[in-house]
C-alpha cells in the first residue's frame, strides 16, 4: 500500500521535507508511521510530546489505522489567527 505523509511548520524543518510517500508492507497506525519517520529523521523525536496527527484532513488519534491512499499530516500545535 502507499500513503502520503505531510509535515508542517517546525515538523517540516525537523523532518527536512514537507512530503513523503511511504509504502508500508502491512497495515499500520498513525503512531507507527510517526515512529518510522522519527527513526530515519531523529530531529522529529523532540516533537513527539506535542505533535498532532491528521488523517485525510481531519484530526485523528495516534492509534487510528492507516489505509492505502491515505493522506497523513504531522504538525505542531496551531498558532494562526
Amino acid at each position: 500500500m502507499s500513503i502520503k505523509v505531510l509535515f508542517f511548520a517546525s515538523l517540516a524543518e525537523a523532518a527536512g521535507t514537507r512530503e513523503l510517500i511511504l509504502e508500508p508492507a502491512s497495515l499500520t497506525d498513525l503512531n507507527s508511521v510517526f515512529e518510522k519517520c522519527a527513526k530515519e529523521r531523529p530531529l522529529l523525536e523532540s516533537h513527539r510530546a506535542s505533535v498532532l496527527f491528521a488523517l485525510n484532513s481531519e484530526f485523528a488519534r495516534p492509534d487510528s489505522p492507516v489505509r492505502d491512499g491515505d493522506e497523513i499530516a504531522f504538525f505542531p500545535p496551531v498558532s494562526g489567527g
Partner: protein, 136 residues
C-alpha cells in the same frame, strides 16, 4: 464567505459584502501583526497552513457559529505567507440583528481558529526566527 488568501485582506469589502438590510450589528475582529512578541522586537511574520484542512476547519467554525449563536452570517478570511508589522493576518465579520450574539460568535470564531485551524506563525527577529506553537 470563508477563505485563505495570500494578498492583503480587504477588510472593508469583507464587511460590506456580508451586510444585508435586516442586520442591526456588525462585529469585526482583525488580527494584526504586532511589532513585538514577549518583549522581543519582531521584524515580520510568515504564516503557513495545511491548506485543504485549514479551509475545511474554517468552514466548520463558520457553520458552528451560525448554528450556536443567533447571527445571520459570518465571514472568516485568513491570510498566509509573508506579512509586515501592522498588516492584517485574519479577519472575522459577523452580521446579526442584535449585538450580543454578534460579539459572542465573533469571539467564539477567533478563539476556535486559534485552537483547531492548522495554520502556524513564524516570527522573524533581528537575530533569528522561531515557529510559534499554540497551547496544546
Amino acid at each position: 464567505m470563508f477563505g485563505l488568501v495570500r494578498e492583503p485582506i480587504d477588510i472593508r469589502k469583507t464587511a460590506e459584502d456580508i451586510r444585508k438590510p435586516e442586520d442591526g450589528a456588525i462585529v469585526v475582529f482583525e488580527g494584526v501583526v504586532r511589532n513585538h512578541s514577549n518583549d522581543k522586537p519582531v521584524r515580520f511574520l510568515e504564516y503557513e497552513a495545511y491548506e485543504p484542512m485549514a479551509l475545511k476547519k474554517i468552514e466548520e467554525i463558520g457553520l458552528r457559529a451560525k448554528n450556536e449563536f443567533d447571527i445571520r452570517d459570518i465571514s472568516i478570511v485568513h491570510r498566509l505567507g509573508h506579512m509586515q508589522i501592522g498588516e492584517c493576518s485574519a479577519v472575522i465579520v459577523v452580521a446579526s440583528a442584535h449585538r450580543g450574539a454578534a460579539f459572542d460568535a465573533c469571539r467564539f470564531a477567533i478563539d476556535t481558529i486559534k485552537k483547531i485551524v492548522p495554520i502556524w506563525k513564524k516570527e522573524f527577529y533581528e537575530d533569528g526566527e522561531v515557529w510559534i506553537e499554540g497551547a496544546h
